[in-house]
């Protein structure tokens, strides 16, 4: 029996497909998320839109708060560590979280290196804006990739950009010089060859960053996302429980506009959202980590 193979880590990502992973900051929200049909919750002290507003250093959440959520829901519980902060990751593994998000939403701990994720038993998810970034993270041991989008913005434009970029760069590999691409993306040739052949990432590919409505979720699924993360979009809206239910239904039936319509019908206002032009470059979460 083995416990630590890469396939076991990717196995959990496989189970999360076709679902919604919701940011929650306390037990009550976690229960609302589970009751709405979330496949997993991301336990964190402050959701991205509040991190953006509050400023200061954003770190791994208080383990006590994560533990309380673990004790109260049966679905997998994820938590975030800072980019490169392998000690935070070790603590989260000791806490037995089900997935670690090495996240650009938190303040970076290492400006040059991400966590070496291979030695961990717990799987990691990492954000990416393009194929090179996605494959560098996979090479470091990430079992799941998500778009970075722009967390806490309520604006889907960056997630769309990142998902389309990854898709088109995978397509480009059909006719590209693969060894040049391996050099450009700073990853081994075998990894590039595998992606060129299969025409998909070696691990599941989810969407995150700016998803606020059932239509946003459907859009990302139709663009090729296999599951969506919803951060501030649910608990910053006027009707978190209804919106959570609606987004779950929209992801399950994203191919059928009538189902998405029915799910959207009675919702109140979504979170307000921010224009990308109103976020200074140095304050964009998605620029953190490469």
């Amino acid at each position: 029996m083995t416990k630590d193979t890469f396939k076991v880590k990717v196995g959990l990502a496989e189970m999360l497909k076709g679902g919604v992973i919701m940011d929650v900051t306390n037990v009550e929200q976690a229960k609302i998320a589970e009751d709405a049909g979330a496949v997993s919750v991301m336990a964190l002290e402050r959701i991205p839109s509040d991190i953006r507003k509050d400023g200061g250093v954003a770190r791994m959440s208080n383990p006590h708060m994560i533990k309380e959520i673990q004790d109260n829901v049966s679905i997998p519980v994820m938590a975030k560590c800072r980019i490169g902060h392998f000690a935070e990751a070790q603590i989260l593994e000791a806490l037995e979280v089900d997935f670690i998000d090495e996240s650009e939403v938190l303040t970076m701990a290492d400006e040059h290196f991400h966590v070496d994720k291979h030695p961990f038993k717990v799987p990691f998810v990492c954000g990416a804006r393009n194929l090179g970034e996605a494959l560098r993270r996979v090479h470091e041991g990430a079992a799941l990739i998500r778009t970075k989008g722009e967390a806490g913005s309520g604006n889907i434009v960056e997630a769309v950009r990142h998902m389309k970029m990854i898709t088109s760069q995978i397509n480009e590999l059909k006719s590209a010089d693969l060894s040049k691409k391996a050099e450009e993306y700073r990853v081994p040739l075998e990894l590039i060859e595998q992606v060129a052949k299969n025409q998909k990432l070696p691990v599941p590919n989810f969407a995150a960053g700016g998803i606020a409505t059932p239509a946003d979720a459907s859009l990302m699924m139709q663009l090729g996302a296999e599951t969506v993360f919803v951060g501030s979009g649910i608990f910053k809206s006027q009707d978190p429980s209804e919106r959570a239910h609606a987004i779950v239904k929209s992801v399950a039936h994203y191919h059928n506009a009538k189902d998405v319509l029915v799910a959207s019908y009675d919702l109140k206002d979504a979170m307000k959202g921010i224009l990308m032009s109103d976020i200074p470059e140095e304050e964009k979460f998605s620029n953190r980590g490469d």
């Binding site: 076991v8 496989e14 679902g19 049966s74 037995e96 059928n256």
Partner: protein, 186 residues
Amino acid sequence: MIGVLALQGNFQSHLNILEKINLESLQVKSVKDLDRISGLIIPGGESTTMSKLLDNSNFVSEIKEFAKNNPILGSCAGAIIMSRNSFDERVLNLGLLDIEIDRNAYGRQVFSFSDKIQVIDGKNKSLCEVLFIRAPKIISVGNDCSVFALRNDEIIGVRQGKHFAITCHPELMHETKIHEMCFKSN
């Protein structure tokens, strides 16, 4: 044609296995899809999520009706949903197999693992590589059931009539044996 319930979970890997053993397949997203198929797979995923989505779309009575004449294979969350009882009000149990099952019984993801299991097909026994992902455990088996998969001495696969339930994931290791038993020689 064999359907794979495609509301949530790893339905795509089951579709790949069906293609590998030359069976036509269909993603089952709504009740009317059941009319087109002669067998169904309930895949792994989150059993709470699948329960919610099944309950919302009056699938329950239709799947029970379908099960009277057609085989159903459940893997992991699918096995939980097919069972008689999983002791959790958040989860739906269709009672297609007389088994009781305990959710996430090995612990959280850090206790997930890969292993070889023994698959029993009549007099033939073979080994199969599988993944156990936050897997459930079968804790009781009714008299009308028979065991078709073991991990050492532990019962991990049970059949009753046409229906099969297994607590792990052969499909993620590209194993076809169990799908063949359920849909080709059943």
